[in-house]
Symmetry: C2
Subunit: 367 residues, 2 copies
């Protein structure tokens, strides 16, 4: 078994909860680390059919002397639903898991979101640990305490704010990640570039020109930096009453695109790629963002080999309707996160329907 | 329309949330009071088929100038389930309720619990107001922030801690309450007597000898006092890590009895009546409670015309199995709230199976 090595340990201090993010390699086989986080003597590991063959045995080995149950869900955003949630509840209840059980989310964002939601509502809240195995989950989904499932009419419609007891990230897991999923994770990293500063945006650009997977310390640094940016924002605004809304940059578009295509066409990060371009284009059309910065973003998305345009088969009127289901709507006004420059984002509630429609037309692929 | 009159206003101050409980008569028709609590311009009222014909129009009238949707559930604990919860979510989503919507729970404990759970998880948390119309909900279920639905294998298995934005109690609603439901509410009042002090236990005894329904101020005082007792405990321990467990006096038995009979045989308060007797009997058998106090409790339950014994058709082994599903289990030990005297309750984790079994036999109806 490979010896575990730790690159970063980040402390997250929220008003009501503190926890650690461990970033390293081979840390999923660190039995002491995993056992140190148990509340009692019962464990449920939730994972999916893709991740289970790769890492499940390793985790189960750590809990061989206590009750350790497993739920293996099918892989994919379409399974982040009530049915999967019920599978978790049924397993917990039929195996008599008590209030001091500990849930482990072993997988990507979908597994993290649904396991977190199950943990937040089983017996009104039990302990859970995130073991994110995708780049997207490592940089984004495992920090911030948002849990959710989808409803047929909208993404993340039902969920909670609930913090993990710890997050353990093993960059080794990214080696086995399909290339398409790795690129999808880059979309969120690019988002953090836009949120943080021109300097970090440039660093992301430089790092993406390297082979990140062959350089675990560099990759771990990039992941750690994104976690720190997100943690800083979440610490200021855990329940998304203000600044946290900025994290939704590109996401109003992305969520509508995903709902439109029933979560089947794109990975979340791919939809975010298009969403970031749409947000930047809207910002540029409204006179906030320079054409040069819009072009730089477009180039960076291209470098990451992410989709950047709305495919021409998407009906824009129907897409706009879906955007009105988005959670960020207050008093029936659509609110967008726009940008003036990398590092200078803000919430704009005065986007006209016409302006939005024209931007969508410009962001759509030509004939 | 009757002019509203207020008897009590109680401030609940939790570490992370403050709200008011208004206790009065005709306060459900107070348009200003109701409107003062809205977050935006959308409202969903959740109620049941029994309460709707009595008070729904009155509440809807207050919101005639804004979007006001309604979910009317069938009446009863058996409907506190996933299916009803989905009805609420579907209505919210198809009617485009945004994050600033306000949910009103108009009804008893079932409506309060399920509406609170829906509010805590729709868009990761929207505002909700409790309008409890039963005695049980007024004295107990509307204070404390516990929300939940039942699972076929156990009561309140899935839920959250989520505080209402306000609670508005109209004692007039108790006039139309079926006598059986009124008596069920008395069980929780008797529980507060046991929790608080010998003096309050005696006061409950004295008050129950009056016709409470013909004396609204006396009834409001009794309700207010119970709310204050519960608020004091919850303020010290919002998430039930310590003292709050005392509120479960009698409930480990009651929940198992309800699960055994699929929530169909007793109202919750009736099961609590039997549960309180079982807890007292176990306390007496273990040498904590005097026979005199056990007898006083039995007499008080009788005065309230509540069931006090386990019917003889209940299989006690099966009942004990169900008790092991209870949420209050930590590290596989059954924990009971026991009492030394009215006002002196404590959590006991050293109850042997044999002691429990013998107590259940003694608490069962004779041949």
């Amino acid at each position: 078994m490979a010896k575990s090595e730790f690159f970063h340990e980040i402390n997250i201090n929220l008003p009501t909860h503190e926890y650690k993010i461990h970033i390293g390699k081979a840390c999923l086989s660190n039995v002491d680390l995993l056992n140190g986080y148990l509340a009692g003597t019962q464990v449920l590991i939730v994972t999916n059919t893709t991740v289970a063959p790769l890492y499940l045995l390793e985790i189960q080995r750590a809990f061989s002397s206590i009750q350790c149950d497993v739920v293996v869900l099918p892989d994919g955003e379409v399974y982040k639903n009530q049915h999967s949630l019920n599978q978790i509840f049924d397993t917990l209840i039929t195996h008599h898991h008590h209030r001091d059980t500990t849930l482990f989310a072993l997988g990507g964002g979908v597994i993290g979101d649904i396991t977190g939601f199950a943990a937040s509502t089983y017996h009104r809240g039990v302990r859970f640990i995130q073991l994110p195995t995708t780049l997207l989950a490592q940089v984004d989904a495992s920090v911030g305490g948002k849990t959710a499932i989808n409803h047929p009419l909208g993404k993340n419609m039902i969920g909670s704010f609930y913090q993990p007891h710890a997050v353990i990230m093993d960059v080794n897991t990214l080696q086995s990640l399909p290339e398409r999923e790795f690129r999808a994770g880059l979309a969120e990293i690019i988002k953090y570039g836009l949120l943080e500063s021109r300097a970090f945006f440039k660093r992301v650009h430089d790092d993406l020109q390297q082979n990140l997977l062959s350089n675990p310390p560099l990759l771990a640094d990039l992941v750690a930096h994104c976690c720190e940016i997100k943690a800083k924002i979440v610490q200021e605004d855990e329940r998304e009453l203000g600044k946290r809304a900025l994290l939704n940059l590109g996401h109003t578009f992305a969520h509508a695109l995903e709902a439109y295509t029933k979560y089947e066409r794109w990975l979340h990060g791919e939809a975010v790629g298009i969403g970031l371009y749409c947000a930047a284009l809207l910002s540029q059309r409204m006179g906030y963002l320079s054409e040069i910065d819009l072009h730089s973003l477009d180039k960076l998305l291209q470098l990451a080999q992410l989709p950047r345009r709305i495919p021409k088969d998407i009906n824009l009127d129907k897409l706009m309707q879906l955007m009105f289901h988005d959670k960020k709507i207050l008093q029936n006004k659509l609110r967008f996160v726009l940008l003036r420059a990398p590092g200078d984002c803000f919430v704009e509630s005065k986007v006209s329907h016409e302006e939005l429609h024209q931007s969508l037309i410009s962001a759509q692929e030509g004939e």
